[in-house]
């Protein structure tokens, strides 16, 4: 997978700026994969993507429910956390493909666990810890 841009995120303000930009430029049927360890800020980034879409609800963790849906923005947001999915085939059984090829933006946390089930044009953001406290490195395939 080719990394086309690498962004150094110094703080939450930077996360916000990038998330808003992603949300404002998202199109229907897009799948955005967020890959990074626990605590790297995947849900925080998702929160700002939602804000960029114009969604005003609180973006709460989808860990327990696997999928959470948000209406009320420019596009619907389908927020996934697939950490607890044991086998990529299970995504099919919970109807994930209806979302992936639907009319909203899908943001998928822990997407590396189900990579083979994601659409070919999925956009990836790999999130890594930076050298400084609070610093993150975003490696993007777009």
């Amino acid at each position: 997978m080719e990394i086309k841009r690498t962004i150094t995120i110094k703080n939450e303000e930077d996360t916000k700026e990038f998330g808003l930009w992603l949300g404002q430029n998202a199109r229907a049927g897009q799948v955005l994969a967020l890959i990074g360890d626990l605590g790297t800020g995947k849900t925080t980034l998702a929160k700002y993507i939602a804000e960029g879409l114009g969604i005003t609800d609180y973006i709460v963790s989808p860990t327990f429910t696997i999928i959470r849906e948000y209406e009320g923005g420019r596009l619907p947001l389908y927020h996934f956390d697939v950490y607890r999915i044991g086998d990529p085939d299970e995504l099919f059984n919970i109807g994930a493909h209806d979302y992936f090829y639907g009319q909203g933006l899908c943001v998928v946390e822990w997407a590396d666990l189900v990579e083979e089930e994601l659409p070919e044009d999925t956009m990836y953001v790999f999130i890594e810890y930076g050298n400084e406290e609070g610093e993150r490195i975003y490696k993007c395939t777009f």
Binding site: L38, G39, T43, F64, I66, R84, G86, N93, I94
Partner: protein, 342 residues
């Protein structure tokens, strides 16, 4: 009807339990069968939706038979079918909803859909026959963390909720990084008893003044940072101390807000609901704070704290008595605000 009592058969399959119960007159449990699948999920570090759905489907007929047998009634005796319609894992919910609708249609019984949270609240009506609304409720489970005002048997107003992780999610994630396994709640509660809750000070997040909302994501990150720093320094990690300190930080905030809400509402009653109500630290700290404020605390027994059919039957019974009905076009809803519960 049997022995002149109104019988409700209730289905609950919102997550990892296939549960069916039969109640007499809404509050008396004749049978409460739970086919727990926790053992299956231990290998996966969480509930696996597809497996959940598949096992619900495999189990559900057997659980129906068992519930009827234990209650010593037949389908002819049943007056009402109640079922959890959301929120939860949609594949799992669908099995319960489809089965309940099939039974209602085949046996020509009325059916009522129930919001999962309303069920958790209603568990207390079963445990405490004298309990009546209004009261303040703290609902804490794998996917929910809410403070609510229970105005009457069918109306609940949420006044606070989590803005990121539910308590159960925070526990599961911290248990994951501590290598304790799933589900995180009981594992952390157990190991925390051997640890010092003051060993590490994790910041308590109260949010804005007077807010009844919660945020646990920062606490999870604080635990992660603590572990990473210790690892970098080559220090040994005392998992019991970390667990105890994390638990204390969660409970300080949760109990403070719940008791504050109970004081402000002035009903003099605080009711615990949901799986996290089984947490020993939560029970102990709340008991102390409620005693100080002369608030009566209600805590249901563990069997009624976990997802079960009886609580759904009780909540459904009161909706039915109020004249509410659902149709056979009822659907399962993964996300379902409480405002739609009526």
């Amino acid at each position: 009807m049997k022995n002149n009592k109104f019988l409700t058969m209730a289905f609950e399959s919102s997550c990892d339990e296939t549960a069916i119960a039969i109640l007499a007159d809404g509050r008396e449990v004749l049978s409460n069968v739970i086919s727990s699948q926790i053992d299956i999920f231990k290998n996966y570090g969480g509930v696996v939706p597809e497996i959940a759905a598949r096992h619900h489907l495999e189990n559900i007929n057997e659980v129906v038979d068992e519930a009827l047998k234990k209650a010593d009634v037949t389908m002819e005796d049943i007056d009402l079918i109640a079922v959890t319609e959301g929120p939860g894992l949609v594949g799992a919910l669908l099995i319960g909803v489809a089965t309940a609708k099939a039974v209602a249609f085949a046996c020509d019984k009325p059916i009522i859909g129930v919001h999962h949270i309303m069920g958790h609240v209603a568990a207390n009506y079963i445990e405490f026959p004298q309990l009546e609304p209004p009261f303040t409720a703290l609902i804490a489970s794998g996917g929910h963390t809410n403070i609510a005002e229970v105005k009457n048997y069918t109306e609940v107003e949420i006044i606070g909720g989590t803005r990121d992780d539910a308590i159960g999610e925070a526990y599961d994630k911290v248990a994951r990084v501590l290598g304790l396994g799933y589900p995180g709640g009981p594992k952390i509660d157990k190991i925390a008893k051997e640890g010092n809750p003051d060993a590490i000070h994790f910041k308590r997040v109260f949010l804005e003044k007077d807010s009844m909302d919660f945020s646990f994501s920062g606490l999870k990150t604080a635990v992660l940072n603590h572990l990473n720093i210790a690892k970098q320094k080559g220090e040994e990690i005392n998992r019991a101390d970390v667990a105890a300190s994390f638990q204390q930080a969660v409970m300080d905030v949760v109990t403070e807000k719940a008791v504050q809400a109970a004081k402000e509402m002035g009903h003099g009653k605080l009711v615990l609901a949901g799986g996290v109500a089984s947490n020993s630290a939560l029970r102990a700290i709340l008991k102390k704070k409620c005693d100080e404020e002369q608030i009566k605390l209600y805590v249901p027994s563990p069997i009624l704290c976990t997802d079960n059919g009886a609580m759904i039957g009780c909540a459904g019974y009161y909706k039915y008595k109020e004249g509410q009905r659902s149709g056979l076009d009822m659907d399962a809803h993964a996300n379902m605000p409480l405002s739609k519960a009526k």
